[in-house]
Subunit: 432 residues, 2 copies
């Protein structure tokens, strides 16, 4: 074992393989309680998770309507029509969009003028386009072209048939779902309650945002970022404050937190020097399932169960806590919501320098993806440094190096996940 590996292992008898850790989590999630539902106004449901299958309460269109401007007819009346041998029809009225179709009915040999979107009069089964007919008298038109039944008609139920599913349970509600539900005059939606995610920060050096920053102190920025992350993936962050580096205090805070939260996230207090405070606390009142994962950054990441609730132990360092959150906490929030992740954006490009990784560890490297002609340049930022949040604000992508590789060479093509717009070398105009 080389010295780097020895150092990586320090304090952890064994590091759990990342996939194995995720598998352990997936097992727990199989029986993890899903959230209940709440009713919200339609427009406020955007981005929330639909709590039930919603089926169409009626057909849409709810009546046969004209797809063109023209004349509603019995198709059969037009079968012999041609430019040289037009069919004459008696004009008995006009229907505009929004008017009640029951207002007018036609008999054979009759027609009604209709505008696009207007309902068909009773008995009409098709529409002759305005350009294929001519008004020859006030109450008479000539038709120059035959139409077949239901030609130029948007049929009742053509878009949605009554009883058809409009949106499924578990779908993330998008603007077009809202449009579709509005078509059915649906004003409220049952959505899944937001999972409550408690955040408990450990670290004697931490002070709250806005505090007086005395020498040696640092702002608890990981907590603020975690709150934003929890919001972003549909959870509700619950601030459990900062707890001192003391097992009994941590135990008390965790026990209090799980009373009102569905899942708990702790930061800090999991590396060896800090005395494994959080894992010790979790083991006193529950059971640590995973602690120490073969990943960089985020090696001290772990999780356990306390009184049936998941407690995640994330690094106190911002980048490590972000990666730990995305790998472990986000899937739990989604599972409680009964939904799946939004698709992620992948881009392939060539590395502009070598990037080394430790065999046996999965590495998450922040990169800058830069547009270069038709391709992309991938520039790796700091490989180490779990605390370097600047690598996140400078990066727009993440490169994952699997355990069986020792890195990638300069010029090698890799796929990265994009989390911010691509950086352009050219002019601003090229940006789209």
């Amino acid at each position: 074992m080389d010295s780097v590996m020895r150092r990586e292992m320090e304090g952890f008898k064994t590091l759990t393989n990342l996939d194995k850790a995720l598998q352990t989590l997936a097992e727990v999630l199989k029986n993890y309680e899903k959230k209940g539902l709440e009713i919200v106004p339609l427009l406020e449901s955007i981005g929330r998770i639909c709590g039930e299958d919603i089926s169409a309460p009626f057909d849409i269109p709810s009546f046969d309507r004209s797809a063109v401007d023209g004349y509603a007819v019995y198709a059969e009346d037009t079968f012999s029509a041609s430019p040289s041998n037009p069919v004459e029809l008696r004009l008995v009225g006009c229907l505009k969009p929004g008017e009640d179709p029951a207002l007018i009915k036609i008999s054979r040999g009759e027609t009604v003028e209709v505008m696009t979107g207007a309902p068909l009069p009773i008995n009409a089964n098709s529409v002759v386009m305005a350009e294929d007919a001519k008004r020859v008298k006030a109450d008479l038109i000539e038709v120059y072209k035959q139409v077949h039944p239901f030609q130029n008609v948007s049929r009742k139920g053509e878009d949605f048939r009554r009883g058809e599913i409009v949106i499924r349970k578990g779908a993330r509600i998008k603007p077009w779902h809202i449009g579709a539900l509005a078509s059915f005059n649906i004003e409220t939606v049952k959505v899944v309650l937001k999972p409550r995610v408690g955040i408990l920060s450990t670290g004697s050096e931490l002070v709250e945002l806005g505090s007086d920053l005395k020498p040696g102190k640092v702002v608890n920025s990981s907590k603020v970022m975690l709150k934003a992350l929890i919001y972003s993936c549909g959870g509700e962050p619950v601030d459990l404050g900062i707890v001192e580096d003391d097992v009994d205090s941590i135990v008390e805070k965790i026990l209090n937190g799980i009373k009102t939260c569905d899942v708990l996230v702790t930061t800090g207090g999991t590396s060896v020097g800090r005395g494994d405070l959080v894992p010790d606390a979790v083991n006193q009142i529950g059971k640590v399932l995973v602690h120490g994962i073969a990943m960089r950054p985020g090696k001290p990441t772990g999780f356990g169960i306390v009184k049936g609730k998941l407690v995640f132990m994330l690094s106190g360092f911002p980048v490590a806590s972000l990666i730990g959150f995305n790998l472990f906490v986000k899937p739990v929030i989604e599972a409680m919501l009964g939904t799946v992740s939004e698709p992620s954006i992948k881009v392939r490009g060539r590395l502009n320098r070598r990037v080394a990784s430790l065999s046996g560890m999965r590495s998450f490297v922040r990169v800058r993806v830069i547009k270069n002609g038709d391709g992309y340049i991938i520039e790796p930022l700091m490989l180490t440094g779990s605390g370097l949040i600047s690598t996140l604000t400078e990066a727009n992508g993440l490169l994952v190096i699997p355990e069986n590789l020792e890195g990638y060479d300069e010029g090698e093509e890799v796929e990265v996940e994009l989390f911010d717009p691509i950086i352009f070398t050219g002019h601003n105009e090229d940006r789209r």
Copy 2:
């Protein structure tokens, strides 16, 4: 000109090429007024557009701190250290994270025990890892390995140097930006005000969501969807109601709307049968720049300028209005915000059936992207039917067919934009 093309052209002397229409819009946007700024609490700034370059007010880390558990030393004192020839140092104290570094200083031959994250004591320039030293007496340690200056130290300013840009004007604020700003104890951010986008709906058949749906009437679902779209891309929707199919009434509503809105969106009243009501109204009080675009759906789309403000004329049909919104209105909102679009997700796959398109028109085809082994199947939904919102709720992607093609063959590989998670043929477990 074939009959389909003739029908497509109906009522429009010429259809404007889509790129040309977008170019016309880009010209207008060069001088379009940007929005001002407002100050919001840090956590509420998520997703908003940063209104100014924010530079680091101090170094981060703000002090040299230990990256490991061990002993802070003069590196020079360890230069001869080896397992067989350890160096003895006098232990003069201990520093924990959060403690003031000014509490302790060391002289040559002295050391201070430090935990990860603790500040270095005055004069120390490096840290010997705990495993490379041994405490042999209460106040004496032996060092077995030399360290070079600043080894195992996170240097002051290593993450951010004072004055360095943390987030740039125009960036969409993400959780990691919030984390970085929090590190600097920054509690509020100047963000760009949300552009106010007025929505004016025309159509005598329309009723508001929640109204009594009499025969022939339809809910104004496009408006509800547009509101959700405007929210989603950072604007503030302003509901200007439904206006009757009458030019004077439309003129009045537009004039009123632009008093309080930055941009206006109208729906309906732009196709020929409805008498070009909105274009006529716009031309009475301003100038229509584009009306009738060579695209499907959304041919009657257009825009003009009234008293310096952009007025967009979208189709009243949901799908056409969605596509018109994304092509024309979203870029205006982003321009007023001074930002660029989030990256879109592209997927390549094979079409499972032929999809036809009209040469000279750009077509936007809703598709279902289905995972199939290692690849993707692209299933085109209805090509025509600008009103068929079910093609949006059933689709998860959009295929764009350029003007110079007449479609794609079955089995052809195409690239589509993904707007919802990919559909899996397998089990739910495979979904990630």
